[in-house]
Symmetry: C2
Subunit: 324 residues, 2 copies
């Protein structure tokens, strides 16, 4: 059965996410009409997922819907923003009901979890390309940025980076893991990343800088340091590894995946020594799942200390346009 563009929007996207009282007019007109809260600054981000670039051909539609919103919520999290609204631009080769149902269910579930309303969109034919644009808020002057770090600030990362990279290797049959539960867990870390929204909110007023880890921890951490006019030194032994990743690929390869893999959507952030005690009390590791991994330095560059030596790892991360 062939669905028209209007069927697609009304059946799958007109009631996606939560209803919000600050949406005066949502999906269905030329634009959405939205109420910004007084005293707040608007935070806006946009990110695309392209088939065969950001996910393998044939990935589950539910995962694509989840990830398209998750990668954007992760950007809001890195700014310390409270998510509010999203817009979706969807190019797809054919309007297939099962696929659209699964895709919108993935998007809808994550939107509901974070109180987000889908307020507008565009659907068109084309190669599968999903662009989501998110809008959120911070109290004026309280946005986290990449550029506020200073030498000596302590560097933290949330979660266990590298799991997503291992999940992608599993998805592409480039890795085998004996334990099916661990394999599924790693796969799900790739397919259903968790945007660290509540951590981002908790870090307002405490973190000096923050970035979301999408292109590899070392590269993104280096970007934060560079934007802050610093360098960064990470301590190899402290890079957190999940039990599943350690069991699947061992400690050595696991740490390399953690440092240079991509698509983690964790937060890497810095806290000045002067605010450490306050941070430890307000943002406990037991609740927010972060690990201390290093410090910003006055000398530029991103380095990883192992024992007494400095490891050399390509810090480039994933770059879409560089020659392989």
């Amino acid at each position: 059965m062939s669905l028209s563009e209007f069927d697609v929007i009304s059946r799958f996207f007109s009631r996606c996410g939560v209803p919000r009282s600050d949406v005066a007019l949502g999906v269905g007109d030329d634009g959405a009409v939205l109420e910004c809260p007084p005293g707040a600054q608007l935070i806006a981000a946009i990110d695309s997922l392209v088939e065969a670039v950001h996910f393998p051909k044939g990935s589950p539609a539910r995962s694509i819907g989840h990830r398209a919103l998750a990668v954007n919520l992760s950007d809001l999290a890195a700014m310390g923003a409270q998510p509010a609204w999203a817009l979706l631009a969807l190019a797809l080769p054919a309007a297939e009901e099962t696929w659209l149902g699964e895709f919108s269910a993935g998007l809808d579930a994550l939107a509901r979890e974070h109180g987000v309303a889908l307020v507008g969109g565009d659907t068109t034919g084309g190669s599968l390309c999903v662009t989501v644009q998110v809008l959120g808020f911070v109290p004026r002057g309280s946005a986290l940025t990449r550029s506020g770090g200073r030498p000596g600030d302590v560097v933290f990362v949330s979660g266990t980076p590298g799991d997503s990279a291992a999940g992608l290797l599993l998805e592409q049959s480039q890795l085998t893991v004996d334990d099916p539960a661990q394999a599924q867990w790693l796969l799900d870390r790739f397919r259903y990343p968790t945007p660290r929204v509540s951590l981002g909110l908790a870090l307002r007023g405490l973190a000096s800088a923050c970035i979301d880890v999408s292109d590899g921890l070392l590269g993104d951490c280096g970007r934060l340091a560079h934007a802050s006019g610093c360098g960064v030194q990470l301590d190899y032994a402290t890079i957190p590894l999940s039990p599943a990743l350690r069991a699947a690929v061992g400690e050595e390869r696991g740490r390399r995946l953690a440092l240079t893999g991509g698509e983690d959507y964790e937060l890497c952030f810095t806290v000045p020594e002067s605010r450490l005690a306050q941070f430890l009390e307000a943002v406990p590791a037991a609740e927010f799942g972060w690990t201390r991994i290093g410090a910003l330095s006055a000398a530029p560059g991103a380095a990883v200390q192992r024992g007494g030596a400095v490891m050399e790892i390509s810090a480039r991360g994933f770059d879409h346009f560089s020659a392989k």
Copy 2:
């Protein structure tokens, strides 16, 4: 020479459009930080252009940059909004300097014309797909919508629809026009459509409903009527034709292109009889270039009156997913 994703952003997009004092933080962090004006509602729209769907392969990059923003500004115009900010998600097969220079020049020129700042974006590999998201403002409660029309309201259209459809036929070598100046003019109506932003602003408080004409005048006019709980009757003889279109394809085919072609990015709007005098004075045709083409009716459906008869024309407009 191969450009990295970071080179692409810093060289071509970090200073696109005008600087604005309401942009606290623009391109280069995880999100933009923006100041919403008090007393205003935010208007948000998103639209994609996909190669071989919305423009032929090999179209000039400058035109693609212009159109990607123009189709979005047209959505803001239809809401009566003052444009402020834009975000760009660009998927492209290769980072080619000449192409990027032309693309960003097209986007930049139109952004400057409308006082828009490019505040964020995402670039990735993939088939050429350009998604722009725009944000603008209306004084609270003054947004134009599709749903405010009532039976008897007079229907107007801006500009001369059909020119863009003829321009696309020229671009695809499916039409030949003897006069090179007229051919170029039609081609430019496709390549460089004019978003009717100042008309949209002038219509606030006067128009009862408004829609932008992107999928064909008759279809979009029917959509406005449907959203308003009405039908619409258009008068065939009044559908405006440009001299170039008339010369190129004759009156009969010209009117059919005007009614069912697409990609016009004109505004179709309705004005109640009670506000007609005020409208004629405040929004003169000589300045804003509109034509009266019909009226909303109590009976549903979209019809075109010609002499005493009702013409049958497929009112579906362009639908990306229906079987041909």
